[in-house]
Symmetry: C3
Subunit: 265 residues, 3 copies
C-alpha cells in the first residue's frame, strides 16, 4: 500500500471533517485534522445538524462525554451523512464501562450506516458482544483473539472495524491490515485514541472509496509522527506538541522509511 498517496489526497482535497465529539479532547481532535492539512468543524446543535453535515466530507462521532441530547444530534447528523453518502466514523469510547454507553452505541449502529467502528480492545470487544469490561475509557482485559473479534464485527455490521493498541487492527471489506507503528508514550497522553479517530475520519473523507486502506494509512501516518515526536520530547505534554508538529511536517521519505503496515488474509 502506498501510504503517502493517502496523505497526499488529504493535503490536496483538504476535506471538511465534521465532528460531534467529547469535551475533553475536542481541541486536540480539531488540531490533529488541521495539522494534517484538512479542515475540522465541531457543532452539536440539532437545528444545524443537517446543514453542517451537508457541507462535510466525513463525519466523526465520539461518545466520550455523551449525553442523550448529544447522541440525538449524532443521529440527525448520521442520517444526513448517509443521505449525502459521506463516511461516518464512530469512536465507541467507554463502551464496556457503562450499560448506557453500550446502549447508545447500539442505537447509533442500528439507525445509521456506520462506515468505521473504532475503539480499544475492550471497547470493540464489548460492541462485538463479548462480556468484557472497560476501565472508564482505558482498555480492560480481553482474552479473545482481537483479529477474530474485528473480522466478526466487520461481517456482522458490514463496516470497517479498527482496534487500536500496541498493534492496530483494521478489518473491512474482507481485508485485514495491521499497523505496527506508534510508541508506548501515547498511552501517557489523554486523547491519543480520540485523535486517531479524527485521523481516520480525515483520511476516509479524502479517499471514501477505499475506507479500510484509508484507515490503515491514516493510523500509520499518525503513529509515524508519534515515533518522531517521542525523540524530541521527554514527557507526554511536550510529546503532544511535537506530535502535532511532526504531523504538520510529515513527508514522503519519512513515511516510506518508517511505515509498518502489513496486509493479512
Amino acid at each position: 500500500m502506498n501510504i503517502y498517496s493517502f496523505l497526499q489526497a488529504v493535503r490536496d482535497k483538504r476535506p471538511l471533517v465534521h465532528h460531534i465529539t467529547n469535551w475533553v479532547t475536542i481541541f486536540d481532535c480539531a488540531q490533529v485534522v488541521k495539522s494534517f492539512g484538512a479542515s475540522p468543524v465541531m457543532a452539536h446543535a440539532p437545528e444545524e445538524a443537517d446543514a453542517m453535515t451537508s457541507l462535510a466530507s466525513a463525519l466523526v462521532l465520539n461518545i466520550g462525554t455523551l449525553t442523550t441530547e448529544v447522541v440525538d444530534t449524532m443521529k440527525l447528523s448520521a442520517a444526513a451523512a448517509n443521505r449525502k453518502g459521506i463516511p461516518i466514523v464512530l469512536d465507541v469510547c467507554g463502551a464496556g464501562a457503562t450499560a448506557f454507553r453500550d446502549r447508545k452505541c447500539a442505537e447509533l449502529l442500528d439507525v445509521a450506516k456506520i462506515d468505521v467502528i473504532k475503539g480499544n480492545s475492550s471497547e470493540v470487544a464489548r460492541i462485538a458482544g463479548l462480556a468484557v469490561a472497560t476501565q472508564g475509557v482505558d482498555a480492560g482485559e480481553v482474552s479473545a483473539d482481537l483479529r477474530e473479534v474485528a473480522v466478526a464485527l466487520s461481517n456482522k455490521r458490514k463496516c470497517t472495524v479498527v482496534i487500536t493498541g500496541a498493534e492496530d487492527i483494521v478489518a473491512g471489506q474482507g481485508k485485514i491490515y495491521q499497523v505496527k507503528n506508534g510508541h508506548p508514550m501515547m498511552a501517557n497522553l489523554v486523547g491519543t485514541g480520540c485523535m486517531a479517530t479524527s485521523v481516520i475520519g480525515t483520511f476516509a473523507g479524502a479517499t471514501p472509496d477505499q475506507i479500510p486502506e484509508a484507515a490503515a494509512a491514516g493510523l500509520a501516518c499518525y503513529e509515524i509522527a508519534a515515533e518522531q515526536a517521542v525523540k524530541k520530547s521527554d514527557g507526554p505534554s511536550l510529546f503532544k506538541q511535537q506530535l502535532f508538529d511532526c504531523i504538520f511536517r510529515l513527508d514522503e521519505k519519512q513515511i516510506r522509511a518508517m511505515q509498518q503496515v502489513t496486509a493479512a488474509s
Copy 2:
C-alpha cells in the same frame, strides 16, 4: 496610535473579561486573556448570567459551538452588559455555514447593543447581507471589497466591525484601521480567530471609550507576538505555546519596532 499605551491599560486595569464561548477553544480564549495580564471568566448558566456579567469589564460572545440554550444565556448576559454599559464583542463564528448560525447572530444583534462584530471575511460578509458561504468555520470566497463591507455593516449596526485575515480591517465610529501584523502560520492553528476575539474584548474592557482603537491595538499586540512566536517554533503546536509566552513577555520596544497599524479615511 500609541499601541503600547493600550497594552499598558490592560496590564494596569486587569479587566475581568466574561465569556460565553465555544467548547473547542475555551481554554485558549481564557489563557490568551490571562497571558495579557487580565482576568478571564467563563460561565453559561442562565441563573448567574446577570450576576457574573455585572462583575465584568467586557463580555465576549462566540457562537462556535452554539446551541439554542447557550444563545439564550448570551442574550441574558448581553442585556446585563448593556445595562452596566460594558462593551460586548460578538464573534460570528461559522456565520454563512448554516442558516441557524445566521439566524442566531441576527437575534443577538437585534436584542442587544453589540459593540464589536468580528469574524473572517465570509462570516462578516454574510452578516452584512451578502450571499457568500463559509466552509464550516474557515473563510469562503468573498468577491466584494472587504473595507466597504466593514464600513457598511458598521454604519448599519452602529458598531465597530472587525474582519480578520492576512490584513485585518477595523471599521467603527467613522474611522478605519488596517493591521498588517501576523503570520500565515496562524491559519494552521485551531483557535487563532477565537483568541483574537478574546483579545479585542480584553482591550475594549480596558479602554471602553476608544473601542475601534482598542480593537486595532489588541490585534496588533497579538499578531506581533505571533510573528515572534513563529521564529521560535517549527509547527502549529509549539507556535501556540510560544504565542502565549510571547504575549506574556511583550514589551514596548517590540511593539514600537514591529507594529503595522495604519489609519485610513
Copy 3:
C-alpha cells in the same frame, strides 16, 4: 510525613478518578491525573452517573462552568460515591462570585458527605459563611485568618478543607498542614487551581484512609514539579507543558530535597 510514599501509592494503584468538571480545563484535569500515573474519566450524563462512579476510586466535582443540569448529575454521582465509600473532592470554583454558585455548593454539601472542600481564599471563606467576594474565579480580599477559616469549616462540615495560595493550608481530622511549595508563575496559567483539585482526588483515591495527608502530599508533589517546570520555561504556556512532564518524571530524590510540608497543631 513521607511524601514520596503517597506518590508511590498513586503509581502502584493507578486509581480511576471520575470527574464532573468544567469545560475550560477539562483536558488539563484529565492529563494531570494521567501524568501522575493514574486513570482519569470524565462523564456527565445522569443515566450513567451511578455506573461510572461505581468503577472509580475517587470522585472530583468542580463547578467552574456549572449548570443546574450538571450539578444534578453531580448529586447522583456523589450519592453513588457515598454508597461505595470513595472520597469526594469538591472544588468550589467561583464561590463568592455569584449567589447561584454559593447556593449550588451548599446544596452539594447538604445532600452528600463531601470529603474535601477545596478553593482559593475567598472561595473557601465564602463557603465558611464570610461576606467576601470572588472576582470571577480569581481570589478576592479576605481579612480573616485563613487557618482559622479552614479549621472552622472543617469542624462544621466534618471534612478536610484545602485553601490554595502562595501557602496552601490543609485542615482535617484535627490536623493542619501547610504546603509552601509552588511558584508565582502558577497564577499566570489558567487551570492550576482545577488541576490541584484533580491531584487531591488522585492522591485521596490511592490513600483514602489518610485524606488530609494525601491532600498535602499531592499538593506538594504537584508544586515541586511546578518549581522544576519554571526553570525550564519562560512563560505560562511552556511552563504548563513542563509541569505535566515534570510530574511524569518526578522521583523520590527530588521530593525529599524540595518538599516544604509542615504540620501545625
